[in-house]
């Protein structure tokens, strides 16, 4: 779990100052945890050129859905304390 938090730079929303600093359109939030979309994109790029190229070929709406799904999955792991 610590690896996911560090790897994806997942932060707790308990940090009110942090929330105020971030543009709400650039983050994905769930159950008291947030991750920025930019970090998730970097995470995809880290998975290899195949994953990166597949992601880059998606339409914008598909990219948003992909980011949403990856984020919700990781944030759920954090929220559930798995």
């Amino acid at each position: 779990m610590a690896d996911i938090a560090v790897g994806l730079d997942i932060r707790s929303t308990m940090d009110a100052a942090l929330i105020n600093e971030i543009d709400p359109t650039t983050i994905i939030q769930r159950d008291g945890w947030i991750v920025t979309k930019n970090v998730v994109v970097m995470h995809i790029h880290d998975q290899g050129s195949w994953a990166r190229d597949l992601y880059n070929e998606l339409f914008d709406i598909e990219k948003q859905q992909t980011l949403q799904e990856i984020s919700i999955f990781s944030l759920s792991i954090m929220a559930d304390g798995l």
Binding site: M42, H45, D46, Q47, G48, S49, W50, R52
Partner: protein, 143 residues
């Protein structure tokens, strides 16, 4: 390129600054799966470096005087695809013919720096040329 250099690189940086730069050349000799394996081994190397203190200590001892085989040898035969990729980047020529040919392509005279050129000769030439230009700018600014 040595393991110590690789562990300082984020996977996305390794892909964009190393693999992508030489992808055209790589695809002539390697399948997409082999390139993918090298990328995957880089991620694995980072994980091993972070999680295995003995590997971290061994790699941290390496410096510019460490030989290629010695540096990769301490990883005990792992990451062979990645090693091959890095070895390929450092391949030297048997003679200077192709290097001289590259110089003539860009219509520029060879100098002593050519002896340090590798398979990336054209890149090397450009760097050498740029260095000469920077030196001239430096001299002019002091004159």
């Amino acid at each position: 390129m040595m393991p110590m250099d690789l562990v300082k690189m984020h996977p996305s940086v390794f892909i964009s600054e190393v693999v992508d730069q030489y992808r055209e050349h790589l695809t002539k000799h390697w399948s997409a799966d082999l390139i993918d394996k090298a990328e995957s081994e880089h991620r694995e190397l980072l994980a091993v470096y972070m999680r295995k203190p003995d590997v971290k200590v061994a790699l941290n001892k390496h410096d510019e005087k460490t030989f290629f085989n010695e540096a990769w040898g301490c990883l005990k035969g792992r990451f062979m695809q990645l090693r091959q990729l890095c070895g390929g980047l450092a391949t030297t020529f048997l003679n200077m013919t192709s290097v001289k040919s590259d110089f003539s392509i860009i219509k520029w005279e060879t100098n002593n720096s050519r002896s340090s050129l590798t398979s990336l000769s054209l890149v090397g030439i450009m760097h050498v040329k740029l260095f000469e230009q920077i030196k001239m700018i430096k001299h002019q600014s002091f004159a």
